[in-house]
Amino acid sequence: MKKNLIRLVSVAAAGSVCMGLSACSAEVGVNEVSKETVKVGLICLHDENSTYDLNFLKGLEEAKQSLGLSDDQIIIKKNVPETNECKEAAADLADRGCDIIFADSFGHEPYLLEAAEEFPGVQFCHATGTMAHTEKRGNFHDAFASIYQGRYLAGIAAGMKLNEMIDAGKIKPEEAVMGYVGAYTYAEVISGYTSFYLGAKSVCPTTTMQVQFTGSWYDETAEKEAATKLISAGCVLISQHADSMGAPTACETAGVPNISYNGSTQDACPNTFIVSSRINWTPYYEYAINALLNGGEIGYDWTGDLTTGSVLLTDVNEQAAAPGTADAIRKASEDLKSGAIHVFDTANFTVDGSTLTTYLADVDTDPEYKPDTEAIKDGYFHESEFRSAPYFDLRIDGITTLNEMY
């Protein structure tokens, strides 16, 4: 058996050496990349049927056009699971001569890191990860966008809608309860719903919020059920942080206004869709690829925001939104950009009844989850500054979580 195996292996190896020659010669010239020869790889967890992955695919397509790259300079691997397959996919992309490789899912990170160790001449850029700023390898980078800014702005649209309902006498001020469908109970989602709530509260001070978790990033039935449950419990406006159409369609059926995510859902929900925030990955692709082409460094941790164009809001649906919403969003957006206002201003929220002056956040990844970094300075919580991925995990007053899901 063993002998046969060895024979099989050696035949296989001999065959592949011949076929692999062209790939080898491509690798040699890694340091002299030019716009005409640069090759870009992308690893996606799912395919374009997931709004999350679609956002990455669209972003790369736009970056390809703005940078003037051709189709054969882009190699995309879809449906790559968060296992050793991810390392194999990354290594295969490197074998094909990719100079820079992007991956879109949180769980890809350790495998991408392994590939980065094996291919020091190739740049690896990972979205939503947390390890690059402690690993400090020259060729491994994390990136995220400060989407909490976008959610804050979307929250303003929600607050104005609540005010409209109160002014019309449809609800009393204390009945301005919002519902939120979240995927999992961790920092990324907590940071998102808190910023959304604070945005709404900035214009409608009496609002409160209930959060229901589904335990999945994509589960249409569970998201629909969660939204329906919140609506029947008296929530008059719904938002969500999960990737299916479950919550928006539940809102359209019930006639309850919805603040969406990942992109406009106006086509499916013309009467209830107000506005949606989303991350635009194009600026990051452009930044990283340009840095590679110009011989510059790619930052080990990059955070896109409103200024870089990484955080976007869709057009406001005038049919469902309160009058003046678009203007209010525009103004707040300018204030956020200039630093006149901060989303997590400690003056605007309390935890267990008291205002915070200090909070140690768990920014550096370690198995013991040790909080390590002081996040509150100058009167606000500095989200996505010490690393790009969110770490705001405070449970503030005014928000009730109905369940927990991990």
Partner: protein
């Protein structure tokens, strides 16, 4: 009488079971059907994508064998699928419908991961590896033997029972991946012992997967001998043909059922060990990647012969790898490659029909008279 016979209309063709078929005829049928599958799948792909079918097939070959790394990846995937297929085989040969391999693999993997995480810095590596092997084998065996025990004693339905055991295993894995997740609450265990490599199966001669492949080949060989030449293998075959016959000639049926599922489960546990300690170095719900179910097809297609299983699992893995390459190279959705894989597998399964049965057309003179 002849008059009335003439009125009976003979159908255009009828199907008859073959008594036996010479080996070359069987392989001729397989070859012709495979060719037909390629032509049909090529036609479908041309109509759907307007790409040259030959280029599509070349791309599949390229995806499976194009580089040394891909060949290793192919053999690694082949070994994993083969291991699970060999594991389910004795149970199926006994006509015990074990569809719980997925759960048995997962629980073996979970036991492995638990040892790596909890004992990684407490035991010297050789001892840790021994503990991991023992834990994964025991976990898989327990997961397999529970349904067998109920089936042997109380005639419970093993299909439903093993299926339910899958869900329990998946939920247990979900629970522990949360408990051990890094960073907290992310639901991802990440690479276990990345710095120390404690509990990782060693790479032989610089090849990470070689040890997996060798272990699986040894198991495959052992299973072939066990089923074909051992007394226990014979007992399995008899119980599979007829439990009553087995009982009549004095085979302890209960004991055989339990023993066989113990073996099935234990090998599944080893598959879990190879996937966690030898491949992924992590545990998640996706660790088994559906192999527990694909293995059923592999095993049946190979008619429970361990060596044929090398061929059938190669076929499945080759199609998977090739199909993935198609979607990357032609920017097509993965669903397209699933269609091609589906067509080819469907044809191959149908070739077994033509080997078992012959199609006889209405004879000319009968139609004329």
């Amino acid at each position: 009488m002849p008059h009335s016979e003439q009125k009976v209309r003979e159908p255009l063709f009828h199907i008859a079971k073959r008594d036996s078929i010479v080996w070359w005829k069987a392989w001729l049928i397989r070859g012709v059907v495979l060719l037909a599958a390629l032509v049909f799948a090529g036609l479908v792909s041309f109509l759907l994508t307007k790409e040259n079918p030959l280029r599509i097939y070349m791309t599949m070959l390229e995806g499976a064998f194009g580089t040394q790394r891909r060949i290793w990846g192919l053999m690694q995937n082949l070994a994993m699928l083969l291991c699970v297929s060999v594991a389910v085989t004795p149970a199926f040969k006994m006509r015990f419908w074990n569809i719980g391999a997925e759960g048995q693999v997962l629980i073996g993997g979970l036991a492995t991961a638990a040892c790596m995480i909890l004992l990684g810095d407490k035991l010297p590596n050789p001892l840790l590896l021994l503990v991991m092997i023992a834990a994964s084998v025991a976990a898989g065996a327990v997961w397999g033997v529970i349904p067998a025990f109920f089936r042997a004693n109380w005639q419970t339905n093993e299909t439903l029972f093993t299926l339910m055991m899958n869900y329990i295993a998946i939920q247990l894995v979900s629970f522990f991946t949360y408990k051990w997740s890094v960073p907290k609450g992310s639901g991802q265990v990440g690479v276990i012992n990345r710095a120390t490599h404690a509990g990782w199966l060693p790479s032989l001669g610089g090849h990470d997967y070689l040890i997996n492949i060798i272990i699986v080949l040894l198991i495959t060989f052992a299973m072939y001998v066990y089923l074909k030449y051992s007394k226990q293998g014979y007992e399995i075959a008899v119980v599979g043909e007829s439990e009553n016959t087995a009982r009549y000639i004095g085979i302890p049926v209960k004991k055989v059922i339990i023993r066989t599922m113990l073996i099935s489960g234990a090998i599944c546990g080893i598959s879990g060990l190879l996937m966690v300690a030898g491949t992924d170095h992590t545990i998640s719900r996706d660790t088994a990647a559906g192999r527990g179910f694909t293995a059923i097809m592999v095993s049946w297609l190979a008619k429970f012969n361990s060596f044929y299983m090398i061929l059938t699992s190669f076929l499945i893995v080759f199609l998977q790898k090739g199909a993935t390459e198609i979607s990357t190279a032609f920017s097509l959705n993965e669903s397209f490659s699933d269609i091609i894989t589906g067509i080819i597998i469907f044809f191959i399964i149908s070739s077994e029909f033509f080997i078992q049965y012959s199609v006889r057309f209405r004879r000319k003179e009968a139609a004329a008279s």
